[in-house]
């Protein structure tokens, strides 16, 4: 009888070795474990055996049945996994190098640079303010100490309007408003669009952005001014910059300075950006003129302050390498769509 079992065992092994797919496996299962299968047959034939034989045989057959069941299940898993692998292998293969379309729009390069500066100044406790573009002569000139007959007020530079107002020629036009709004102490920047009546070419525009800043308190000094300018510009250019001050004259400052930075592009050796001088004149600044403080309702005997102006448009052009200023107001989407940034 045991030879019968050995024979079955051998046959099972032979068939399992040859099985290729789930259907073949199912046939083996039916052949061995089915109602009319080999194992049932043997079990049935055990009725004719004596008790000892039956016991012995029962044990052997149960073991064999267990083994067959397990191996079939294991093989079934294996075949299923292989099938899945086969299927995955035949799945579509994607070309990751295909171009993709971005749904992102763009911010204007001026907006991007303006935000960067606003973040730097906000982090140092400066308020960010805005102001009108159509302003009075008082705002643009008188309030910042530009007297009636100053050449800056000549018609050729300023766009005058038929209601007696004008388009602001400088962000300083907001100084008076801001001094009055905040009083002292005051730390504020005010970016804005300015207008000058001049011929447009690659480096001149009638319409451009500036950013002005002011800081007023009881003991604001020239030493503080240099500190803030150096810190702020080092952040803007992401490197430790060397700055220098030269005397400069602006009606709304006293003393007034021209601030130069050592060229961040060549380190001062001389390149096209610094016109081979090693220094870039970047930022008119100075201690706020007592008359400007007074007109802003602040006592110049008690408070001092500094103010500075930055050419936002020029800075954006420098940072992005835009060689022609006319792109900025062109609305040319082929030019502007490049500024994708979050």
């Amino acid at each position: 009888m045991s030879t019968k079992v050995d024979e079955l065992r051998a046959r099972f092994q032979e068939q399992m070795d040859a099985v290729k797919d789930a259907e073949g496996l199912e046939k083996i299962r039916i052949a061995f474990l089915g109602k009319k299968g080999f194992i049932t047959d043997v079990m049935k034939s055990m009725r004719d055996m004596n008790e000892d034989e039956r016991k012995e045989m029962g044990k052997v057959m149960n073991e064999f049945k267990g083994q067959v069941t397990q191996e079939i299940a294991a093989q079934g898993q294996k075949l299923k996994a292989r099938l899945e692998q086969e299927k995955l292998k035949n799945d579509i293969r994607y070309d990751i190098t295909l171009p993709c379309e971005s749904p992102l729009g763009t911010l204007h390069p001026i907006t991007i640079v303006q935000r960067e500066l606003e973040e730097i100044f906000s982090s140092m406790g400066f308020a960010v303010e805005d102001y009108a573009e159509v302003v009075t002569e008082y705002d643009n000139f008188e309030a910042v100490n530009v007297p009636k007959h100053h050449p800056a007020r000549d018609m050729q530079d300023t766009y005058y309007l038929d209601n007696g107002e004008l388009l602001k020629t400088q962000t300083s036009a907001a100084q008076n408003f801001i001094l009055r709004k905040y009083g002292a102490p005051c730390k504020a920047i005010f970016p804005g669009r300015c207008f000058r009546n001049e011929d447009v070419d690659a480096s001149h525009e009638t319409t451009f952005f500036q950013m002005e800043g002011m800081m007023v308190d009881t003991d604001i000094s020239i030493s503080n001014l240099i500190y803030f300018m150096k810190t702020m510009l080092s952040e803007v250019f992401q490197k430790d910059l060397t700055v220098r001050l030269r005397p400069g004259f602006f009606p709304f400052t006293e003393p007034g300075f021209e601030l130069d930075i050592q060229c961040p592009f060549c380190g001062g050796k001389g390149c096209a950006t610094c016109k081979h001088g090693g220094w870039i004149e970047l930022c008119p600044c100075g201690m706020i003129h007592p008359n400007v403080l007074r007109m802003g309702g602040i006592d110049p005997e008690k408070y001092t302050g500094f103010a500075f102006g930055l050419g936002l448009t020029r800075l954006a052009m420098m940072k992005f390498g835009i060689s022609d200023i006319r792109y900025l107001n062109s609305g040319n989407l082929r030019a502007l769509e490049q500024f994708k940034t979050l």
Binding site: R115, G125, M287, G331
Partner: protein, 798 residues
């Protein structure tokens, strides 16, 4: 302005000082130097020689063979100059020397050896004259190095005129020398002048100032018996290096004084001008200036007249008729001070800006008019000792500047600078610059010198500049400020603009553009739109761009026009200023608008309009608790660019109290069609100034119900003209207590419905206390359905 270091050295000893370093200090302490040239460095070995013989040679028509006597030897030089001739003395570049960087070596020319080079003035850098050899005076010793006789060597530097705008004292070498002396810590020599008091017995010059408001001072003196008319070479060289040109002695001396002291002067031929009146002409006149041009003189222009006849435009240029000519031997010298604004306006009016007017524009020191005459006379007598003074100094001085005295203390300097500059250093700096300083302990009382008192130095802050610039900003210790801490939050306006820009760019994929604040009239014309606006530029270069815009959308449409063919569909936006109206006092009512233009192919209008409305709704959502409403625009509200029947008004709130925020409209098909055939566009324009003040509230959390919701759909048949908002109004009238929300599922229009549409709405009912019964919901739905009868809507299933 060009400056000669030799000239400055007349007044301050700079021996042993590195000039380049000094000039750098000048840039950092006084005014920007745009360039420095060490002229003459590449020219040496030039000696006085005399041409002994001058032979023509058969090999060349141009070249001559010269024998030149150099004192200790003679040499042969081949020379092509047309004025080469025997007997004259000329500068000779000798072997081993250099001329303008060219080495002088013996070399063959036309087959003859040339052992040097005879030079022109241009070759030696002392004038532009290249017509021939520089013929030297006969009395010069042979073989002498020419640099010992003439100022071949100099350091010439150019100062940016703009940076001198506010320094009237720096428009001459003496003023610059004063700065240089302070920067180099060397003493300044007193200005050399002739004593004029010796001529007090001579007759006066008749001088009348008719308009003392515009002529602060007029000093005059007359001279005669002038025997020379050519200026000394070194004077001519200095004039040349500073950008001027020698004319004749008397005129050169006026220019020399202007460059040295900064005082413009004029010499009139005494035969033509022997009396002076300073005033105006009646009516408009023609006047011929020195440069030979006829000028139209307006009655406002201040003139110099003699016996009523105009002889000069005050402060700008003299007349041709009274100019100094070669045979002039007597002259009237003018040294005057005119009102800066008047000179600038006159120069603009006649279109002539001269070296003199440029200086007067800076508000010159009237104290120097007499100094200038005294200096002029000293120089004249040095050059022409036979010249005679024929009048006493006549000085009419109706308008004096007040003497300015400024007090301050050391604490003020410390506060303004943030550093500690010593008392002695403060005192010395101010004294070096010509201020009179009295000090008692920490207290300074400073008298401003006249040359700084016309406008430049008036308050104590001006003195801070003097002290610090000479101290040197590079020497400053830099420090952060000590300031109280307090929160600074972005303004609501700034925050809204920033959020809206981000949303449009990053959620709606729109591109931000900048357009001009004035209309682009030409392109608006191409779109069939008018160039409308309430405010105009008075000085625009073209009428196409002289109107300030009332709204943004026309500008965005011109951007679309410029981007023809860019992409089949895209969106652009801008937040910018416009002036839709004027206030009662005529001041501009400027508003910041958001404009969004959604552009696409025709047929997309509906889709674009929904997207534009979603932008509005998202802005409303950003400001919690705010509800925007929309209604069709009436005839008067429809703008030119809008579709007459698909234009909508966006408002805050509803009904009569609704506040208009902006407009949302399909772009008029005829306008869109001009951008591109088969194009369509939708525009949204909102007044951001009305939106940012709305209070932004934090969203309040509402816990979701723990009980399930029940939904029920209803499909209504209604007249197709009934808007969806009519359903909303009915539901809002008596909302069921368990109705949590309702959503539009779809609208179906079919010809079979003949003028009607079917509207499907899904209602969601929720209770916070219990699970709702179907019957309750059915009852609520029945009520809603019957209520809809009010707008003529009925359900098919009832």
């Amino acid at each position: 302005m060009f400056l000669s270091m030799n000239w400055i050295r007349d007044f301050v000893n700079l021996d042993g000082i590195d000039l380049d370093e000094l000039i750098h200090k000048f840039t950092l302490g006084t005014a920007e130097v745009e360039g420095t040239e060490h002229v003459g460095r590449d020219t040496y070995g030039i000696k006085v020689g005399q041409i002994l013989t001058c032979e023509e040679i058969p090999e060349s028509k141009k070249l001559h063979k010269l024998t030149v006597d150099l004192g200790d030897h003679t040499c042969q030089i081949m020379c092509g100059a047309p004025n080469a001739r025997a007997g004259i003395k000329v500068p000779v570049a000798t072997l081993g020397g250099m001329v303008g960087g060219m080495k002088i070596e013996a070399r063959p020319l036309a087959g003859y050896e040339s052992q040097g080079m005879c030079c022109s003035q241009k070759e030696l850098g002392v004038s532009d004259d290249h017509s021939g050899l520089w013929v030297l005076p006969d009395d010069l010793p042979l073989g002498k190095d020419i640099k010992e006789i003439y100022e071949i060597d100099d350091t010439v530097f150019e100062v940016d005129n703009k940076s001198l705008t506010n320094r009237p004292d720096l428009w001459g070498h003496y003023g610059i020398a004063r700065e240089i002396a302070a920067l180099a810590d060397r003493p300044l020599q007193p200005y050399p002048v002739q004593d004029l008091s010796a001529y007090g017995d001579l007759p006066e010059v008749p001088i009348t100032i008719e308009d003392p408001e515009l002529c602060y001072r007029y000093s005059g003196m007359t001279f005669g018996h002038v025997t020379k008319n050519v200026s000394p070479m070194n004077m001519q060289i200095r004039l040349y290096r500073c950008g001027m040109r020698g004319i004749n002695l008397l005129a050169d001396l006026t220019n020399y004084l202007m460059l040295e002291l900064g005082q413009p002067m004029h010499a009139f031929d005494y035969k033509r001008v022997n009396a002076i009146e300073v005033g105006h002409l009646d009516g408009v006149n023609q006047f011929q200036t020195l440069d030979g041009k006829d000028r139209t003189i307006q009655p406002e222009t201040l003139m110099i007249k003699s016996h009523g006849e105009p002889v000069a435009v005050a402060g700008i240029m003299g007349g041709l008729a009274s100019e100094i000519v070669d045979d002039t031997d007597s002259f009237l010298l003018e040294s005057a001070n005119f009102d800066a604004v008047s000179v600038r306006k006159s120069a603009q009016a006649i279109g002539l800006r001269t070296d003199a007017s440029m200086r007067y524009e800076k508000t010159l020191d009237p104290e120097m008019t007499v100094t200038a005459i005294a200096r002029y006379l000293k120089l004249l007598l040095e050059i022409d000792p036979e010249a005679k003074v024929t009048s006493r100094l006549t000085d009419v001085y109706p308008k004096k500047y007040p003497v300015r005295v400024i007090s301050f203390d050391k604490a003020y300097v410390d506060r303004m600078t943030g550093i500690d500059i010593s008392l002695t250093r403060i005192e010395k700096t101010l004294k070096d610059l010509g201020f009179k300083v009295e000090r008692q302990d920490d207290q300074f009382t400073v008298t401003v010198p006249s040359w700084r008192a016309t406008k430049d130095v008036t308050i104590k802050a001006d003195l801070i500049e003097e002290i610090t610039r000479i101290y040197g900003y590079d020497n400053f210790e830099i420090k952060t400020s000590k300031m109280d801490l307090y929160p600074i939050l972005p303004t609501p306006e700034h925050k809204l603009h920033s959020e809206v820009k981000n949303m449009l760019a990053f959620t709606y994929g729109a591109h931000e553009v900048h357009t001009y604040v004035w209309n682009d009239g030409k392109r608006l014309g191409e779109l069939g739109l008018s160039n409308a606006g309430k405010l105009h530029l008075t000085n625009s270069v073209s009428p196409d761009i002289d109107t300030i815009r009332e709204e943004l959308m026309p500008a965005l449409l011109t951007v679309a026009l410029k981007n023809k063919g860019y992409a089949p569909s895209y969106s652009i936006f801008e937040i910018g200023s416009c002036v839709p109206s004027l206030k009662e006092d005529k001041l501009a009512n400027e508003e910041k608008h958001l404009g969004v233009l959604l552009y696409g192919r025709s047929g997309m209008e509906g889709e674009l309009l929904v997207r534009a409305k979603a932008i509005c709704e998202d802005i409303a959502k950003a400001i919690k608790g705010v509800h925007f409403s929309y209604r069709a625009a009436n005839e008067t509200e429809v703008r030119e660019w809008q579709h007459p029947y698909n234009s909508f008004v966006v408002s805050l709130g509803e009904g009569e109290n609704a506040k208009v925020l902006g407009t949302l409209a399909v772009v008029h098909p005829s306008v869109a069609g001009k951008i591109e055939k088969k194009a369509c566009a939708v525009g949204l324009e909102l007044n951001m100034d009305e939106i940012y003040p709305l209070v932004k509230m934090m969203p309040q959390f509402k816990e979701p119900s723990r009980f399930p919701s029940i939904t029920a759909d209803a499909t209504f048949i209604v007249d197709s003209t009934v808007p969806y908002s009519a359903f909303e109004q009915i539901i809002a009238r008596e909302p069921d207590q368990h109705l949590e929300r309702y959503d539009l599922m779809g609208i179906y229009v079919d010809e079979a419905l003949s003028g009607k549409k079917s509207v499907t709405i899904r209602f969601t009912f929720t209770s916070y206390e219990r699970t709702l019964e179907m019957a309750e919901v059915a009852a609520a739905m029945a009520k809603i359905k019957s209520d809809m009868g009010a707008i003529g809507a009925y359900c098919l299933d009832v």
